[in-house]
Symmetry: C2
Subunit: 145 residues, 2 copies
Amino acid sequence: MINISQSTSTRPYLVRALHEWCTDNGFTPYVAVLVDETVQVPREYVNNGEIVLNVSFDATSGMQLSNEFIQFKARFGGVAREIVVPMGRVIAIYAKENGQGMAFPAPAPTPAGAAVDATAASDSPPEPPAGSPSNSTRPQLKRVK
Amino acid sequence: MINISQSTSTRPYLVRALHEWCTDNGFTPYVAVLVDETVQVPREYVNNGEIVLNVSFDATSGMQLSNEFIQFKARFGGVAREIVVPMGRVIAIYAKENGQGMAFPAPAPTPAGAAVDATAASDSPPEPPAGSPSNSTRPQLKRVK
């Protein structure tokens, strides 16, 4: 997967796209996050190492969806919290109402205390292409709904 | 797939996302299009019912990526042509340089002369999720790179 390391991750672009799709359709965008020490979320809402966040404009303020982070303020149990999620830790974004969305490969586990490069760590081997044309000019295509 | 028919297609959002990713990374975005009578392209460049179009800003003018169409002007063999591609006919978008991108299900064949609803026709059954969590709140997630 040499090429991927030479380019930025598509993940933030896809996260923004699905966030926009949800918003345009009146759906509530949820993101599932694989929590580690680089993720700033209320730990009391983390379950099995994951947290699901409502990232709708209605539920948040100051939403920023950059290539590096999802960052916003939201209230948890009435308390305002500042949330920071590195894009590489986002493992899914989907509409609360119907579950439609997209999942991403989970980042590989990192040694405790090691510096985390979540984007690079997410370069797990691709799945075999399903039904993709045997065209050598596009070997890395992933088929989605 | 009842839910999908109640919402707009994610395809234009994903096409725009990958187009932006290509552009930001200095790659040349190509789209593969399944041609039918709703697709306005130079027929002499259609191969096996498909055409691959360079949709970079460098190669086109007046590029529009709406929820319904990809529309732009480009030169083919020195001749300026107006290109119109319904989003539902886009079967892939990828970087020319490394093939990274995304493929979409091909629209189902339509009877000759029938009105084409490419978006609805693309609602083929989803692939089985690979490695996705057994969480009933997100049954329609598609896993991608």
